[in-house]
């Protein structure tokens, strides 16, 4: 038998039925929408992947290591040093300080934030985001792409769901009501509900227009999560003084005097199969606030005219 004949005869297959193509497109469109939402929270996506790679053994080992941390002496809010302040005390103080800040941005057009982050053994990346309330936003992140990256409208991740700007403002600011609302939305995401709740607190504080009242409630929720330990006074990578608290591999550096989230980190520097440089990740939040406008992106939807002139130029 001739190979070519055999190959030709076996190559004939029916074409895809229209319903097959439509069904595939529907699935793809859902994934595209999710990809757009994930881009809004690129940092979150990076971290979540890493979190899921962590084995139970690694978490147990990490927890055991924390048992040897000696509770330090802290100077909190200009008051007398507090000996052996607990993580909960620090977060409650941050809550009160956050709630005392001015502001609330239910009607702002954009939320602008500047941060740096660092992943594995790679170099530091600069990130600046203009998250749109009702309009598309813009991101620059040299770890993702060069130039301006268009974003969809704001989606703030909270466990198994994404919240719009208005939904963020509709969250209860009573911490008990907030906690049950957030727990109900976890939907099985994360290593455990407590671990995920601790992560959600960070998700809603970073790159988010959360009001002072919501920030206060978030730190109060965090103060009630079991298993959060106090690391102590630290200096973040931007040289700012703060206090570190952590749960599992997730660490927050906060400023108890105004309730700001200064820096967060997670993962391990040990090489992993999928991350030879280690899974360690750290992000430092330099500034955030409301903005009236965002930079224009360089990408313009091609029009008949631009296509024609491009065709002419290439001929």
């Amino acid at each position: 038998m001739n190979l070519d004949t055999l190959l030709r005869d076996s190559a004939a297959v029916p074409d895809a039925a229209p319903r097959v193509l439509i069904s595939g497109r529907t699935t793809l469109d859902a994934a595209i929408t999710a990809a757009g939402a994930q881009r809004v929270a690129a940092i979150r996506v990076i971290r979540q992947r890493r979190r899921r790679r962590l084995s139970v053994t690694a978490l147990v080992a990490a927890a055991a290591a924390f048992a040897f941390v000696i509770a330090p002496t802290l100077s909190l809010g200009g008051k007398a040093p507090v000996s052996a302040a607990s993580a909960a005390q620090v977060m409650r103080q941050a809550a009160a300080a956050a709630g005392a800040q001015p502001g609330g941005w239910p009607d702002a057009a954009y939320w602008h934030s500047v941060s740096t982050y660092h992943q594995g053994s790679g170099s530091a990346h600069q990130r600046e985001a203009w998250i749109g309330h009702t309009a598309p936003g813009v991101l620059t992140d040299d770890g993702v792409d060069t130039g301006f990256i268009p974003l969809d409208e704001a989606v703030f991740p909270a466990g198994g769901r994404g919240l719009s700007w208005d939904e963020l403002y509709a969250l209860p600011t009573d911490s008990v009501a907030l906690e049950s609302n957030l727990r109900a939305g976890i939907g099985g995401v994360g290593n455990s509900d407590d671990a995920e709740l601790f992560v959600i607190v960070g998700d809603l504080l970073r790159e988010s227009p959360a009001s002072p009242a919501l920030r206060q409630a978030l730190w109060e929720v965090a103060a009630r999560i079991p298993g959060v330990t106090l690391v102590g006074a630290v200096t973040d990578s931007a040289g700012r003084a703060g206090v570190a608290v952590e749960r599992g591999d997730q660490r927050y550096v906060l400023d108890p005097n105004d309730g700001r989230l200064l820096e967060e980190s997670s993962g391990s520097s040990a090489p992993a199969p999928e991350a030879p440089g280690g899974t360690a990740w750290r992000a430092t939040y330099l500034e955030q606030g409301p903005a009236n406008s965002a930079p224009a992106t360089t990408w313009v939807e091609p029009t008949k005219e631009s296509m024609a002139s491009a065709a002419k130029a290439s001929n």
């Binding site: 038998m1 895809a16 097959v20 595209i32």
Partner: protein
């Protein structure tokens, strides 16, 4: 006239920051990718895997390098090959480490009219390495040029041509050795 008129290379460049551009690539190439899948796993499984290929492409779009041919197809075939292997591993209960040919032979035999021919292609292709088999099938079944197949398999064009030549002569010699009774 919008993104649907852009060539693949520009779409792939845009897709890095505009995930919805994958929808245009789907409209353009889904029928051909479906046939690729149907040839390897049969029409029923191809229905299930079609979306999987494009969803995987969505995730891989940040790593894509536009190909000289100007077509996204070699890239999509490369992804489709991985999706097929992963599907066959799942359906046969193999582990990730197992080497699984990216073809379901039952689906291939179902397309050959004469019972006497069934098993022959499998016998011929079983003599090839995975890379040789995929090279031969991309050219013979999918109608790719050796250069495009090289792109799908991550080879240089020169290596692709010599691999194709090796694959063809080895497969034909196996067919030649089959006894007349088997033919």
């Amino acid at each position: 006239m919008r993104a649907t008129d852009l060539p693949d290379t520009e779409l792939l460049a845009l897709a890095r920051t505009q995930p919805d551009v994958l929808g245009v690539i789907y409209e353009r190439h889904a029928p051909v990718v479906y046939r690729y899948l149907a040839r390897r796993v049969g029409p029923a499984a191809a229905e299930d895997l079609l979306a999987e290929v494009f969803v995987a492409a969505l995730g891989a779009r940040l790593r894509v390098q536009p190909h000289d041919s100007g077509s996204a197809l070699p890239w999509l075939y490369g992804i489709a090959g991985n999706v097929v292997r992963s599907y066959l591993r799942r359906s046969r209960g193999h582990s990730l480490a197992d080497d699984v040919p990216a073809v379901d032979w039952d689906a291939v035999d179902a397309r050959l009219d004469a019972a006497a021919l069934r098993g022959q292609l499998q016998a011929a292709l079983a003599a090839l390495t995975d890379g040789e088999r995929e090279m031969l099938l991309l050219v013979a079944w999918e109608g790719l040029s050796p250069t495009e197949a090289a792109e799908a398999l991550g080879l240089t064009p020169v290596n692709a041509r010599s691999r194709l030549h090796r694959a063809r002569s080895r497969a034909q010699s196996v067919l030649d050795q089959l006894t007349p009774a088997e033919l």
